[in-house]
């Protein structure tokens, strides 16, 4: 199977997920960064940890509040965005690209298909 970049999907906890070759990249949605306001610190997850969907795995701190970030699907954390360590505000500038938070090797791609599409997420936000 060749390399492919999947459609970006969203969780109810305002994370986005995209998949390339069974590696999922995860961050928080642009909507989430807007409501959090200035992000000043992120406690990144530990590489090598195996996590289950809905596990709290890291924390984003903004000037307003601390928010937990959940694993959107089961898998193993294989990489974190170390740039955020020095400058968590990258998430405010570009939440859904440069502001990615961690990558996982996923174990169950069905979990991914169950997440919301961009349109479904937009509808979810309007509710």
């Amino acid at each position: 199977m060749g390399a492919y970049m999947s459609e970006k999907k969203y969780t109810k906890d305002h994370e986005w997920v995209s998949i390339e070759n069974e590696i999922a990249t995860i961050g928080i949605s642009n909507h989430a960064q807007e409501s959090l306001g200035d992000i000043v610190f992120i406690e990144l997850p530990s590489v090598g940890n195996s996590v289950k969907a809905k596990d709290e795995i890291c924390v984003v701190e903004s000037v307003k509040a601390a928010s937990d970030i959940y694993a959107p699907i089961d898998g193993e954390i294989i990489e974190v965005n170390n740039n955020l360590e020095n400058d968590a505000a990258i998430i405010n500038q570009d939440a859904e690209n440069e502001g990615w938070i961690f990558k996982m090797k996923i174990s169950d791609s069905n979990q991914y298909s169950e997440l919301m599409s961009e349109d479904e997420y937009k509808q979810f936000l309007e509710q």
């Binding site: 306001g37 200035d38 000043v40 610190f41 406690e43 924390v59 701190e61 000037v63 307003k64 601390a66």
Partner: protein, 353 residues
Amino acid sequence: MPFAGFNMPINYKTGIINEHKNVRNHSGIFDVSHMGQILIENNESYLHKLEKYIPLQLKKLTKNRSHYSFLLNKDGGVIDDLIISNIDIKDKSYLYIVYNASRKKEDEEIFISCAPNAEKIYEKNCLFAIQGPDSINVLKNIIDIPNNMNFFDILISKHDKNEIIVSRSGYTGEDGFELSIPNESAENLINLLLKNENTMLCGLGSRDSLRLEAGLSLYGHELNEKITPIEAGLSWALDKERLEDENLNGNKVLSDQLKNKLSNKKIGLISTSKSMLRDGMTLFDNNNNEIGKITSGCFSPNLNKSIAIGYIISEFNTDNPIFCEIRKKLELVKINNLPFVKKNYKKNGSIYE
């Protein structure tokens, strides 16, 4: 965000940190119309009744000056903190009091019981604060401000043919002004102020981080009905003669507290990691004993670290390390004298120091 029954912006377009820095470096405008504003006739019988709650000699307040004070309950606890000023409006002498939105009900019950014809002017007047070192230059293009106006001076000026109450005050640690202006002229005045390209509208978020850096107390956090002004480190705001006066609520408790050691003390804290210190977090000594709690915490844009105010037990020796429980982990925090950022008031404005 709902705040004391009002829908208030936490921040405007550019965010809390940018608004905060703009106030420290230039100026920023806060709509604080949610706060209570009341006029009480300067009448001896009213003042006597109010002196039961307010620890000042109300009959001796200097004209055109403001004072930081409190309403006290029977135990000397703080019902509210407020700014009280002596001003003449249309040749009549008044006490003009500005108080917290969240305490309107409690405060007004007292004000009306002491002075039945007290006038709640917030129903027809907006209240704006312009804060920061450039405030004077932004404001004096639009309204008359005498050159010799000091911090905590207050006077009546004019805008748009309307009388407005102008006080040199605020709650950010910076020089600045508060303007009480009839609703119908408010928008016009704000738009004129905003023509200055270095000023901007600021929300509740930066108001909180600015006051915290300045070490100023906030009702519901550092102050409540179970804490006296002395326990909150605000004994400088009490008129010491009034503590001998039986007519003052809690006078015995307060004079005893002045003479004896308190059980708790207020402290400033700085985070040693990047984690945020927040209201309600618990403080421990190095033997895991609980020694206190944080009452306000935020990110300090000036120090680029999290800062907090809290209370710890007085017997704790502050040379020893203090730990704060952040998400079930204990993190070292450092004591820092209040304020975190030096205040920048215009002359004689040492009233908060």
